[in-house]
Symmetry: C2
Subunit: 153 residues, 2 copies
């Protein structure tokens, strides 16, 4: 239950996030998405809270759910990709709807050691590439969310 009785039913995804990314899956009140950019494995978590703009202003139960989602997503990306670094953040200077970034980074990727935000032009993937990238993340994330929820139950 939400502190403020807000529900995902009243929520819709920002058009720019919709255009730039594809759904991985929804879990609870979170939508996990993949940015359509071949250069980086770049994921998003969007809490489906209408009007949410900043993490620190989310109701505490929503914030805890988002942070648990970030933990599961981070564990999944580490397991799948063995990155040199995960870059996580809530920026939102261009899209005011709250979304958390979690990006797989390598010392030889095209933006290293800089950040991915504002780094060059995105390279859209073909549908088959998108699917191949999304499928293992979805499978791993489902496992991680279930495992972590058992651990805290």
């Amino acid at each position: 239950m939400s502190d403020d009785h807000t529900t995902p039913a009243d929520w819709c995804l920002h058009p720019r996030l919709k255009a730039d990314s594809f759904p991985i899956f929804d879990h609870g009140r979170l939508q996990f998405r993949l940015i359509n950019d071949r250069r980086f494995v770049w994921t998003l978590i969007v809490p489906m809270h209408p009007g949410a703009e900043q993490l620190h202003r989310l109701p505490p139960d929503w914030r805890n759910e988002a942070l648990a989602g970030l933990q599961a997503l981070s564990e999944t990306l580490e397991y799948l990709y063995h990155p040199d670094r995960l870059n996580t953040g809530a920026i939102g200077n261009l899209v005011d709807q709250l979304h958390l970034h979690c990006v797989v980074r390598f010392g030889d990727d095209p933006a290293w050691p800089g950040v991915v935000w504002g780094a060059g032009e995105r390279e859209p993937m073909k549908p088959i590439e998108l699917l191949a990238r999304i499928q293992p993340i979805a499978a791993g994330l489902g496992d991680a969310l279930a495992r972590n929820s058992e651990r805290t139950a």
Copy 2:
């Protein structure tokens, strides 16, 4: 108590973080710092956990403490500055020691709408300016940490 009996006594600050920023204060197992750059109110939280590099690999009690610190810091910066946006993140591509960023952003600041990481040259402050910036953050943060800890007690 730490999950792994690690204590801040075994910890020391990364030389680059030490050179780039000044202490606001230590609270529990967290060190709050201010980046020495006149252009942005740019704060850091450094969990004093020896060897910590990534947020998702911190022991859960340390991670919860760091995230509670980020919440108190965000509330403080919002109260003091009324920013258009707070940018928060864990990047660490240049400094492997775990540190969380929390940056006050305005639509007319020198990096907007881009991010502050990698944006131009830092402008160091004079000691009196640093002090004037640190003092209200320290006071507000002390209040926010006490208030939030009562709320969850």
